[in-house]
């Protein structure tokens, strides 16, 4: 009977499932964060306005070309194939025997980076031109404009898309089983080898995947809410004397909102 198998397998193999889920979460969290940072950096570089200086313009062209190749290659090939090529390629060509975990994080990161680079570029382009001009008008250079004005808005705006990448990563780390990374899919496969049943172990795995993705989505929603701050602000009553310490006033009132 299926249900008795279901519970028996959980009882016997829960530590393996848990470890697998842990590895899956770890790789997808770190991979998504590093990937998002790669994406932010590349997106920023790709939107640098062309310089008047011929030398700088030349270098920017070359860098942009390399970045375009990177984005196109990693978006245009399956992650499962990239895993094989990178893992066995580094072994064969450079004699580097990558740690499995490291290889997993590396592959997920650069993959996510390629996708978020485009998301970020879109996010930067969609920020109102007036925001750039206002920042330039108070004397900010491109780097400061990006860092203090544009990217914070981009990050907020692309957070749902990054969350989406995160959810995709939780599921897609399963392809790393081809290089024997001990994530959830790999562990589940090993369990099937022990119990000689396929349906129940993978049913359990799918429940665990679903719990992880649902939890992550909820948490990201909360983070978005937090970033948006309170919906209302409070007017500070007149004739206040503490002008010299406006931050005190600000803190007090911010907490109540």
């Amino acid at each position: 009977m299926t249900w008795s198998w279901f519970f028996k397998i959980i009882e016997e193999y829960w530590p393996m499932f848990l470890r697998g889920a842990g590895v899956t979460l770890l790789i997808s969290i770190i991979g998504t964060v590093i990937g998002a940072i790669i994406g932010l950096i590349i997106g920023t570089i790709r939107t640098i306005p062309p310089s008047d200086n011929g030398f700088k313009r030349f270098w920017l062209k070359i860098v942009n070309f390399i970045l375009t190749v990177y984005v196109e290659v990693f978006r245009g090939t399956p992650m499962i194939v990239q895993s094989m090529v990178i893992y066995y390629g580094s072994l064969m060509l450079f004699n580097i025997n990558m740690d499995k975990m490291f290889a997993g994080i590396f592959i997920v990161s650069i993959n996510t980076g390629a996708y978020t680079a485009e998301i970020v570029r879109g996010g930067i382009i969609s920020v109102d031109k007036g925001q750039f001009e206002a920042a330039h008008a108070i004397g900010m250079n491109h780097a400061k404009t990006m860092l203090y004005v544009v990217l914070p808005q981009v990050v907020r705006n692309i957070l749902p898309a990054i969350g989406n990448e995160f959810v995709i990563n939780i599921k897609d780390t399963s392809v790393l089983n081809v290089i024997s990374v001990t994530e959830l899919y790999y562990q589940t496969s090993s369990i099937t080898g022990n119990v000689f049943r396929f349906f129940e172990p993978f049913l359990i795995a799918s429940v665990i995947y679903l719990i992880m993705t649902l939890t992550v989505t909820r948490i990201l929603r909360l983070i978005e809410k937090k970033m948006d701050g309170p919906e209302n602000f409070n007017v500070i009553p007149g004739n206040q004397m503490q002008v010299a310490r406006p931050d005190h006033v600000a803190n007090k009132i911010g907490k109540r909102g």
Partner: protein, 243 residues
Amino acid sequence: MEDIIEVQHLSKFFGENEILKDINFTVKKGEVVCIIGSSGSGKSTLLRCINLLEKPNGGKIIYHGKNILDNKHDVYEYRTKLGMVFQQFNLFNNYNVLENCTIGQIKVLNRSKEEAEEVAMKFLKVVGMDQYINAKPNQLSGGQKQRVAIARALSMEPDVLMFDEPTSALDPEMVGEVLSVMQDLAKSGLTMLVVTHEMGFASEVADRVVFMDKGVIAEEGSPEEIFNNPKEERTREFLRRIL
């Protein structure tokens, strides 16, 4: 009076079109200069050329005796000396009112947070927005946004404050509050360069009025001369149309 900005033979092309042709004028310390003219005459482009948001194609911009168009000049430092208030406010969406007025001071002028907040509060008081320091831009009305934008520019303590049609995007009932702030600033001796369609404001507050037409300065003089005794036919024509 000392010249702050002197524009000499300035020209600007967009593609084939010469948008500014041989523009010459000066802004002296403490002066309020209003630029008027019909839509498309190049008023915004002129302001944007002066703070180098657009790159002029020819001519000179002399700032305190130095041509800032020669390459040696630090554009970013120069821009901190020129405040700019935009038609669309352009407050930083990711910051609240107080932060909008401190971020430039902290990150560009390297002031401490405490000092920046003190300066910001001083100018937020001037524009009557000191009670709204926690508000995000999207929680404010247009008039309030524009007053914060003015405080943001003032917080950098610029030599000149430039306005590009600061009331054109506002509902009629909010135009007054912004104009009255600008009037106070003019009285306080701030040097101002104002592109405006508010002829009442120009005739009352300006020391000098510049009339632009099709990329050239067609006429320039006191408000009295421009509004009551325009010499040029096209000035008369323009005033007939809008008054």
